[in-house]
Symmetry: C2
Subunit: 395 residues, 2 copies
Amino acid sequence: MSLENFAIIESTLREGEQFANAFFTSDQKVEIARLLDAFGVEYLELTSPAASPQSRKDCERIARLGLKAKILTHVRCHMDDARMAVDTGVDGIDVVFGTSSYLREFSHGKDIPYIIDSAIQVIEFVKSQGLEVRFSSEDSFRSDLVDLLTIYRAVDKIGVNRVGIADTVGIATPRQVYDLVRTLRGVVHCDIEFHGHNDTGCAIANAYCALEAGATHVDTSVLGIGERNGITPLGGLIARLYAYNPELIRRRYNLPLLREVENLVANLVNVDVPFNNYITGFTAFTHKAGIHAKAILNNPSTYEILDPADFGLTRYIHVAHRLTGWNAIKQRAEQLQLNLTDDEIKKITAQIKALADQKQLSLDDVDVLLRNYHSANVDAEAETGLTPSDVVAAD
Amino acid sequence: MSLENFAIIESTLREGEQFANAFFTSDQKVEIARLLDAFGVEYLELTSPAASPQSRKDCERIARLGLKAKILTHVRCHMDDARMAVDTGVDGIDVVFGTSSYLREFSHGKDIPYIIDSAIQVIEFVKSQGLEVRFSSEDSFRSDLVDLLTIYRAVDKIGVNRVGIADTVGIATPRQVYDLVRTLRGVVHCDIEFHGHNDTGCAIANAYCALEAGATHVDTSVLGIGERNGITPLGGLIARLYAYNPELIRRRYNLPLLREVENLVANLVNVDVPFNNYITGFTAFTHKAGIHAKAILNNPSTYEILDPADFGLTRYIHVAHRLTGWNAIKQRAEQLQLNLTDDEIKKITAQIKALADQKQLSLDDVDVLLRNYHSANVDAEAETGLTPSDVVAAD
């Protein structure tokens, strides 16, 4: 279990550039890189310098920024690409081979020696230049297991720093990921990286299961942006790991910057942060049903496993609706310093529910009801001596 | 493994009503119910009739619609609530007991007989009325396992139709869900339902693992709306199950209605469908990197495990950017019926990459480059006899 000893490879500047709307200028890339570095990710992965002339310049520029995060670039398993990557000054190179159709071909066995030979050539060259090197397959979960393991064992033997498995099409399930990583963990001695797409909603769960099985590195991007609907989102992975070990995550990352980096990237790629986003979605810490509101008021950990304050956020207890409960309304009355008995609160709660059946209420509506009731009490008691419940019953 | 024999309990009209922005009128509830029924979900779960007067009327109204889906309502484990629920005319009742603090209390053992006694009373009453009944705990993953199993075994013995486990706070991991459901599967004979929140991004994966372990029913809501950032989204669960068995999912559900029901609910609760939503997000079938575009053009299943046509959607291959590749550009030239050689296409691709480094390109820009090159060829050949590559080199 690597859950205390993992690293995030933040790939917004590589996988994220493959998002439909992404077009980052050089300055924007630097801004994203600096903010992710301040957040505390351990690695930044950049688009291949072979992709375009500017991509190459951007690798050089970001490698020179002197960030704490290690800088990687992601290239095909070709010597030309590897040489160009080394020349940019990055700290390490993520090598990927083949496409899924290619993989299916060598699952018949004929291309394995060729794959291994070119891998060894590239890996030994990158290592001879003093750089970190990773070797990854593509579409690992639709590939032949024995072929995969044969290749990984070969590159492990010549000293690759890390092997990668990739759920390129988003087909893997958590238990498949656990099993494959577990098997791989028994075959290689080097680090293991997991890259997972989110087409079927398992990218966060799969990354977590990979770590449970012995993976050491997980690829993320801000808001998960990437090909199609993207990969493991940085914020979602943070939420999952925080649920496992809050102290560790608070210590390693500058959590209040999460919202800032998400807002930056969302603006640059012209999307809204999803309403249901992990941690930073606008309802992530909103509690509504009466039973939830009551429990949260007593003890937030009853319905909250993430502390919003750690992320520079606040909780919101929504009381102005038909699912509300009298405990939540009582708490609101106390916030307004209105002195009302439990019986009174229960009657007002019934009124709120009936009104909320008619129209969407605001907190103001609730406050007006509470204040009116309270004033009526005060007036009624002063003038007539009637009990508060009589007043409401007459209303 | 219940993956061929599962049912969806669609809870947009119960859990979804607990979403911060949700306020459904009676007519809107009917519209949602009809559309979900047309989509093909097996159950619809409605807010408790005890929540408010209108909630009660809506239960009665939806129960009378004569939908194919079974209608459930969700109530506390109290005889008053159970009687009110039975009187609405629904087909079944989902009973839930306690809160998490309550559960922690009876983890000391003292409240188990009380829980079981009230459960038996409610369950026997509901069954005596000829209705289906489920009995669920709350916050099952932070409860004492022996206490949970003791209670479930007791209600199973008296003939409850279904027991439910709920990850109320979104803390469970896929392997924990698998293990708990697997254990429960060995203890009870009745059906097993899973309800999972998405705070740490595992709601879809957890639901899937529950089915793998022997659960029979999964709770969903449209776009996952619910308390905080919600529960397992209907569309995400469909994507995951489709990846497992496309034929089954195509046969059971009217898949093109997914987008319609998501748009309806998104409008009613005033949110946008997230950019990265499963299946229907605007980039879910967009392919960008050159290597992806090339493979998709040859065979879509290389990078696509969901067929967009099944959902009434189309794929989009994005070629006007610096990560493009010459195979994708060649395909575009063929679409435009421009006859260009591979060498010519490669030169134009280099031009496109260089231009795309300078500014965000549109498909129009690519088309203009291709057409200009082609016309220049035609003109040049007609006038000078120069080869096309000479023309570009001079450009």
